[in-house]
């Protein structure tokens, strides 16, 4: 498979991203008896976002169960289960509620394979609904991806499409390494026509979602549709923007991203997480290091502000939108100071 190639999803019935995740879990539970699903409210309720709906009924209490309310326990016991040979798929109810498990994630999940020189790999998947835009009160809208990206040993994936949601969750569960699986809350109810099951290829590859020649927008998760909208708007203005969906944040597919930037000569990284020391810092630094002499302008970043996530009624001002992206594109040193429509 070459960089950036992602097999197109076969067309099928319209399915939501949450529904695709539910199918992926069901299919994984069917495919492998070692897969177990647990967390807070995942069994009887089916998860607060219904991603685990119906699994306890179909697979029984030993395969899908509700735990006591303790995130460190969920991650910590998943480690023990993985040591026993299980493939746990656990849910952290919301981004900020994974923080109590941070020590287990950083000091153990990320390090077990290395510590034991491969004797005790941890094939476990940590599902984390993340990001804002859903009107959630405080602590329900964090974009926490950089904490995991900065932790060697973790694979961090962030699908943005329905097909990827299904496929990348299956691939994550099949991975022999621990995967932080970031689910874009904001896109849970987005529908696509996809025939399931679908396989969009191995983890670790980015995808060009829209081809363009003038500049590259690099996005992931909930920022991908926004970047695509921005590209659409720019096209109306005669500007051709390429959109790269990172898909996997760690390891990061430098090849696909750099190939695009070398072609266009300009790049803007777009994400919802805070800018300062956010995911885009790494992307910008790497792209610049590897594409320096192809760049007409510095790589810019359009991100959430460097403030705690604000209350729902003002969150739209926090979230990077089309206007902010086009504004950044306009600052990319165009020959005749040509700017995109804001």
């Amino acid at each position: 498979m070459t960089a950036g190639t992602v097999s197109a999803a076969p067309r099928g019935a319209a399915v939501t991203l949450a529904g695709a995740l539910n199918s992926a879990l069901r299919d994984a539970l069917r495919a492998d008896d070692d897969v177990v699903v647990f967390g807070e409210d995942v069994a009887v309720l089916g998860g607060v976002f219904r991603v685990t709906d119906g699994l306890a009924r179909e697979f029984g209490d030993d395969r899908c169960f509700d735990t006591p309310l303790a995130e460190s326990a969920i991650v910590g016991t998943a480690i023990g289960m993985a040591m026993y040979g299980r493939r746990p798929v656990i849910e952290m109810q919301f981004d900020a509620f994974a923080y109590p498990a941070f020590e287990q994630l950083v000091s153990h999940v990320a390090k077990f394979r290395a510590r034991t020189r491969g004797a005790l790999p941890l094939p476990l998947t940590v599902r984390i609904p993340y990001g804002g835009g859903i009107g959630g009160v405080e602590h329900h809208s964090d974009s926490s991806e950089v904490y995991y990206m900065a932790t060697p040993g973790l694979t961090v994936v962030a699908p943005a499409t329905v097909a990827d949601a299904y496929s990348m969750l299956r691939r994550s569960i099949e991975s022999d390494d621990p995967v932080i699986f970031l689910e874009p809350k904001r896109l849970y109810w987005q529908k696509e026509s996809v025939g399931l099951p679908v396989d969009t290829g191995p983890l670790g590859w980015a995808a060009v979602r829209r081809s363009g020649t003038d500049a590259t927008l690099i996005a992931h998760g909930p920022a991908v549709p926004v970047a695509l909208q921005a590209a659409e708007a720019a096209a109306a203005d005669g500007l051709s923007l390429e959109v790269v969906d990172l898909r996997t944040l760690a390891p990061f597919d430098e090849e696909t991203v750099c190939a695009s930037v070398r072609r266009t000569g300009r790049a803007v990284v777009v994400h919802e997480a805070h800018g300062f020391a956010g995911p885009g810092a790494e992307v910008a630094a790497t792209v610049t290091e590897r594409c320096f002499y192809h760049l007409e302008a510095p790589v810019l970043r359009v991100t959430g502000y460097d403030v705690p996530y604000p209350p729902p009624l003002v969150e739209r001002h926090y979230l990077p939108g089309v206007a902010r992206i086009l504004d950044a594109v306009g600052r990319l040193e165009w020959p005749a100071r040509r700017t995109a429509a804001a």
Partner: protein
């Protein structure tokens, strides 16, 4: 019915209660019920995004607050709207968080009430720390932390009770055992006989009280607070109650509990129960009850009127209180947003801040 529910109460209902305390409890519970009902109506009307009702838990919400002194501190969770109302916070300020307007609608210092806390059990440590600081200062305040049955499984709950017990910090941990953590029933939360049984493991006092019996809750908390104030350390009060509504309006409780269970608890309604008691023993008469009902109607009316005024949230505020002195980067971002809102968006950064690329033409 779980074993836990069948276990005996260790803090039985008091024989008598001063008349004015009884009436204060009654009044606050009736007001709380009205408030809660109004808030739930707002969610149906789409005027409130989310609201975690405490219907059925009014005794647990009201009695602990009334058992404290104004100088004591209260540490609420998201569930404690009625407790905060009882603390004297304006109804609309109590709902600010859920309205999506601001993270905290009231002045925590003025009311000695911490912001409504969402990360479960974390507030127990804040209470323990504040109480411990007060203790070393010779200040005889008490901190009361509300916490749910589900949240007792969190590490922070454990660390807080342990810390408070070791340092004899004057804290009351009031566990509202409302039988559920969202959909998860108590039996999946603990195998202990009762939640009060946890106290012994910390060397703290532990009592179990009927959480639908306001006078009983009042006495249990008052005793715990006095013990704490006297240097006797923390008490874990388990108040056995029931959450009559779904977890929040966004939740669908038909998925996880039978309607009969709710119906059986409806018969133990703490507001009706106290009313019956006070009417029976003559503390309350129909006229007084009607006056309280009127007051409750007034509260609902005021709250509805207050909700007519649209929220006043200002996007610029998100930059204002991150640090005492906003660093350069935040000032630039605030200026950029201000420019955006003013409709600038002309390709220049709104604050005139320029990237190097703009300062010069090529290298």
């Amino acid at each position: 019915m779980t074993a836990v529910l069948d276990a005996p109460m260790t803090a039985p209902a008091p024989a008598g209660l001063p008349r004015e305390t009884a009436l204060a409890l009654y009044r606050a519970m009736v007001l709380g019920r009205a408030f809660d009902t109004t808030a739930t109506t707002f969610t149906r009307q789409g005027r409130l995004a989310v609201y975690p009702s405490s219907r059925g838990q009014e005794a647990c919400q009201v009695a602990p607050v009334l058992a404290l002194r104004p100088t004591d501190w209260v540490f609420p969770t998201y569930r404690e709207s009625v407790a905060l109302l009882t603390r004297g916070i304006a109804p609309v300020e109590v709902l600010t968080l859920f309205r999506g307007d601001r993270h905290c609608g009231y002045d925590p210092r003025a009311h000695r009430a911490a912001p409504q806390c969402t990360p479960l059990a974390t507030q127990c440590l804040h209470a323990a720390g504040l109480a411990d600081a007060a203790r070393t200062a010779g200040d005889d305040l008490v901190a009361l932390a509300f916490v749910g049955d589900g949240a007792t499984s969190e590490g922070d709950f454990h660390e807080a009770v342990n810390y408070a017990a070791v340092r004899r910090a004057p804290v009351v941990f009031l566990v509202q055992n409302n039988q559920y953590a969202i959909s998860v029933p108590l039996a999946k939360q603990t195998a202990a006989r009762t939640l009060a049984d946890k106290a012994a493991g910390y060397g703290a006092a532990g009592v179990r009280v009927d959480g639908n019996d306001a006078p009983a809750v009042h006495r249990a908390v008052a005793e715990a607070a006095e013990r704490a104030r006297a240097g006797g350390g923390p008490t874990l009060v388990e108040a056995v109650t029931y959450r009559m509504e779904a977890h929040t309006n966004a939740d669908d409780d038909t998925r996880y509990r039978p309607r009969e269970e709710i119906a059986s608890w409806a018969r133990k309604d703490p507001v009706a129960r106290l009313e019956r008691l006070l009417l029976a023993d003559g503390t309350l008469d129909e006229a007084a009850a009607a006056a309280v009902a009127d007051e409750a109607d007034g509260l609902s009316r005021t709250l509805r009127r207050d909700f007519e005024t649209p929220p006043t949230c200002d996007p610029a505020e998100m930059f204002r209180h991150v640090y005492r002195h906003p660093p350069h980067r935040l000032r630039a971002q605030a200026a950029a947003l201000a420019g955006e809102l003013a409709g600038a968006g002309d390709g220049e950064r709104a604050d005139g801040e320029q990237t190097d690329g703009e300062q010069e033409e090529g290298s």
